[in-house]
């Protein structure tokens, strides 16, 4: 999109630092700015509660679309059936993931191209009051959740995992619809050297699970089609 006057800037939301995201960046070899946000600052500033999400900012520094689910291309079905050896939990996760509805994926990239071509005249550019209205609700509970999340990240990086869990739990209790808070916390339980660990996000045999819920339980309760909110482009 660069030749058309649009710069993509990606931000990796990762408490654990640079390394977990590096293999993905190395594989993609992006030519655009590729940033790391170990403090989930972007979540707070723009109200991101799940990923992938994107925000549009025009040439004057004005937000013309707030944080919303965003897709580089139509979402492809999963990579086929898993092998028989795949753990049952991973098979269950993939089954739920296959039901997730990426509402705007078919047309999202075209919307960005339309904005590139037409600028402020694009029908996808929202008026200021609509940008603010669509930016999501925030109250004292979700704000306090963010404060707990900041403390949790601090303790996690300081090596006090038990203390981090206390604050992650408080963040989850206060902001139950924030998947980013949950996915971040759940993904750092267990043996991180296991390639499946970051996506396991739930109880495992022989290991205590310190959270009230987990990815599979939550998505079944909420319904996979509601995992990403429906956005009107």
């Amino acid at each position: 999109m660069h030749p058309q006057g649009v710069e993509i800037v990606t931000v990796c939301l990762e408490t654990l630092g640079v390394e977990p995201g590096r293999p993905y960046v190395d594989a993609a070899q992006p030519e655009h700015p590729t940033l790391v946000d170990t403090g989930h600052v972007v979540d707070e500033l723009f109200g991101i509660v799940n990923i992938p999400n994107a925000v549009w900012i025009d040439e004057a520094g004005t937000i013309v679309r707030p944080a919303e689910p965003a897709w580089p291309a139509p979402r492809k079905p999963g990579g086929g059936p898993l092998s028989e050896e795949a753990p049952q939990r991973i098979r269950d996760i993939m089954a739920e993931a296959s039901k997730i509805k990426a509402w705007s994926a078919e047309i999202y990239a075209d919307a960005v191209r339309d904005w590139a071509a037409n600028g402020s005249a694009s029908r996808h550019v929202l008026p200021a009051d609509e940008v603010i209205a669509r930016s999501g609700s925030r109250d004292s509970f979700t704000s306090k959740a963010a404060a707990h999340f900041s403390l949790a990240e601090h303790f996690e990086r300081s090596g006090d995992h038990a203390k981090a869990v206390e604050h992650f739990r408080d963040a989850h209790r206060l902001a139950p619809d924030n998947w980013t808070y949950k996915r971040q916390a759940w993904s750092i339980e267990g043996d991180l050297d296991n390639p499946l660990a970051r996506f396991w996000q739930g109880p495992a045999e022989g290991r205590d699970w310190p959270y009230e819920s987990d990815w599979l339980t939550d998505i079944r309760a909420k319904g996979a089609e509601q995992y990403y909110r429906n956005v009107e482009l």
């Binding site: 006057g5 649009v6 710069e7 800037v9 990606t10 931000v11 990796c12 939301l13 990762e14 977990p20 995201g21 993905y24 700015p33 590729t34 940033l35 790391v36 946000d37 972007v42 707070e44 500033l45 723009f46 109200g47 991101i48 990923i51 992938p52 994107a54 925000v55 549009w56 900012i57 040439e59 004057a60 520094g61 004005t62 937000i63 944080a67 965003a70 600028g119 940008v131 603010i132 930016s135 925030r138 109250d139 004292s140 509970f141 979700t142 704000s143 306090k144 959740a145 963010a146 404060a147 707990h148 900041s150 403390l151 601090h154 203390k163 604050h167 206060l174 980013t180 971040q184 970051r198």
Partner: protein, 115 residues
């Protein structure tokens, strides 16, 4: 965001939260929220009063004494203005990058995660 102190100075509070405490109130962009007269004393922020007025969650960890505040919510929405906030983050090589260095260009800011 973590605060360096439970009694931050006006500058420390602004650096951490983006809200500047001015004579007319707490201001960000073109939005100002009036504050009680005792919100700032000798350059030190009365954190509870200011956080309460701005709708900021305020948490102090009882064991460590560390204090964190959540983002402001004066209008009940995430954004109080459409002016993009200041944002500086490192890239994967550790080089700082400022979002406002892209002024004059359309930007699609994409958040992702490896989990």
């Amino acid at each position: 965001m973590l605060l360096s102190s439970a009694s931050p100075t006006v500058d420390e509070f602004a650096d951490a939260t983006g809200w500047k405490l001015e004579p007319q109130g707490a201001c960000r962009g073109d939005v100002c929220v009036p504050l009680p007269t005792d919100a700032v004393t000798a350059g030190v922020v009365g954190l509870e009063a200011v956080a309460d007025r701005l709708g900021m969650g305020l948490v102090t960890d009882p064991d460590s004494g560390l204090t964190a505040v959540g983002p402001a919510s004066p209008g009940g929405r995430v954004l109080v203005t459409t002016e993009a906030p200041e944002l500086e983050l490192p890239d994967f090589d550790g080089n700082p990058f400022r979002l406002n260095s892209l002024r004059g260009t359309k930007v699609v800011l994409v958040a992702w995660a490896p989990y």
